[in-house]
Subunit: 156 residues, 2 copies
DNA sequence: GTGATTGCAAACCTTTTGCACGCCA
DNA sequence: TGGCGTGCAAAAGGTTTGCAATCAC
């Protein structure tokens, strides 16, 4: 009980500071959403976050949840578990290979990894799950966009 | 030139056989879409596939492209580069960890990999790309759905 | 006070579904 | 011929955008 309270206070403080540090105004909507995400390990959707959060803050709108999630994702507070964009993309190459996704241009680059250095999947997973496919997904900035960014800096 | 022709013929034959083997009726729409996917390494969207394919088969509809892509994906002819489902999902845990995605229930399971066994990213990628995040993504069937499948089999 | 943030509504984009017609086996 | 596959149209599902009112700083 006491622990719980202490935990809440510190989570709250953490969220407030995170917003301040990133020059976001500290609004109850943001704090509640962020607090919830710190606790919810179920990889929730915007919809399910909205449902839970609305109980504590009945006036909150779904759009605010969506927008706030976008803001937090851009700032790196949270991760979006999804490839890049809404339109689905397809790959005729079903051989084992891996992807680098550029977060600026959404381009996907293939690369290979030496089989010998493929990661060790935990035994528990190997035994209890049926693994059909393994992919290493890198996210970041591709050479082209890196260059474009530099160019933009130089013209400032 | 000659090579090109030979290539086309064999690609075509390959696509026809692949459909037949999987008891799909061989329609020009399917063959053209499949042929295109064999060549296009750009990880195209349904839209961009539609635009290209329409040039060869002006009557084709966008819906057919979409439906065909679904069919091919289910049969494993091609891969869908996307996380699981359209609604985005979020993760408050931005520490390095990895995901198992169940293709039946869409549940996402976290797991850790010993840092020492993390895969070797090719030097070319390391040098030319800015890597912000690396995740190993496994796809398959989770223990719960595996059990459910077994149960269903037993009641047949 | 002022500018960022919110809530509401509409717009937008993509995928799915239902149905009649046409084509492949 | 029979039934799968296609094209068309409408619906559904989710995210984004524009705008006026509100709130944090």
């Amino acid at each position: 009980m006491e622990m719980q309270e202490i935990e809440n206070i510190s989570t709250d403080t953490y969220c407030v500071n995170l917003c301040k540090k990133n020059r976001l105004k500290v609004t109850p909507q943001r704090i509640i959403i962020l607090e919830h995400l710190m606790k919810d390990k179920s990889h929730p959707s915007a919809e399910s976050i909205y449902i839970v959060v609305k109980k504590k803050l009945p006036g909150i709108s779904f759009d605010t949840v969506n927008r706030t999630l976008n803001t937090f994702t851009k700032l790196g507070f949270i991760d979006m578990i999804e490839s890049i964009s809404t339109p689905r993309r397809f790959d005729g190459d079903t051989d084992n290979h891996h992807h680098f996704c550029c977060e600026i241009c959404d381009e996907i680059y293939d690369f290979k990894i030496d089989d010998l250095t493929l990661p060790e999947i935990p035994v528990k997973i190997k035994n209890e799950f049926v693994i059909k496919n393994m992919r290493v997904v890198l996210r970041g900035i591709c050479p082209k966009c890196k260059q474009d960014n530099k160019d933009a800096d130089n013209t400032r």
